[in-house]
C-alpha cells in the first residue's frame, strides 16, 4: 500500500492531519500513475474544508472533491455528482480509492476508442494507396517475365 504523508506545512481551512493523511494515502496509487497530478485545499463560504484532487496537465481539472460538512464527508466528482456521503474517514478514503480506479479505467477505455478510430482512419486512407501499386504490379509482372 502506498502511504502518502501530508507534507509538513500549515493546515488551513480546518483540515486535520489524520484526515489528510488518510485521503492522500487513498490516492497514492493514482499519484504514482499520474491519474492524479496534485491537490489543493480550500473552503466553502461557510468555512467548511474542501480537498480538491487534480487531474494531469495541462488542464489540471478537478477529478474529485472531498468536503467536510459538520461531521459528514461528501465526495463529489469534478462535475458536482455526489459519489459518496459518509461520516467515517476510513470508509470515505475507500470510496476515494474506488472512484480513482474507476476514473483510470474510464480514461483507458476512452484512449482505446480514440486509438481504434485513428487506426481505422489510417487503414481507410492507406488501402487505396497500397491497393494501386499491387494492381499495377499484377499487370506489369507477366509482361516483365515475358521480356526476360
Amino acid at each position: 500500500m502506498n502511504v502518502v504523508s501530508f507534507p509538513g506545512r500549515d493546515l488551513p481551512h480546518d483540515w486535520q492531519r489524520g484526515e489528510m493523511n488518510a485521503l492522500l494515502a487513498a490516492c497514492g496509487e493514482s499519484l504514482d500513475k499520474g491519474t492524479v497530478a496534485g491537490w489543493e485545499i480550500g473552503e466553502t463560504e461557510r468555512g467548511d474544508p474542501q480537498l480538491y484532487l487534480l487531474g494531469p496537465a495541462p488542464d489540471h481539472e478537478c477529478v474529485l472533491c472531498v468536503s467536510r460538512l459538520g461531521r459528514q464527508y461528501v465526495l463529489e466528482d469534478g462535475e458536482g455528482r455526489i459519489l459518496c456521503e459518509h461520516d467515517a474517514i476510513g470508509s470515505l478514503s475507500d470510496q476515494v480509492r474506488h472512484a480513482l480506479r474507476h476514473k483510470k479505467a474510464a480514461i483507458i477505455a476512452r484512449a482505446t476508442v480514440v486509438w481504434l478510430a485513428i487506426k481505422e482512419t489510417i487503414e481507410e486512407r492507406m488501402e487505396p494507396i497500397l491497393g494501386e501499386p499491387m494492381e499495377l504490379l499484377s499487370h506489369v509482372a507477366p509482361q516483365l517475365v515475358a521480356v526476360i
Partner: protein, 97 residues
Amino acid sequence: MHATKTASKAAEARKEAGTWLKELRARAGLSQVELAEKLALKYYTFISQVENGFGRVPTEQIEAWGRALGQEPSSFARKLLSYYDPELHRLLFEVKE
C-alpha cells in the same frame, strides 16, 4: 513521494471564472447555499468548488446557473466559454470572415 501543487493557464482561467461567478452571486444577493437551492443541488459544496476555480459549470447546467444569477443565458454562456475554452470563443465570436 510528494503531492505536487499545480498551476496552469487553464487553471488560472478557471479561477478567473470562479471569481466572476462569485461576484455575480454576490450581486444577486445569494449565499452559496441559496444558489445551490435554486439549482436543486443537494449540497452547496459544488458551488464552492466552481467559485474556487477547481470545477466548471457543467454545460447542461449553464442555463440554470445563468438564470439563477439573474443573467441572460446566452451571454452568460458566452462569457463562461471565454474562460473555459478561450480558443473556441475566439473562433466563434472574435474571428471575422
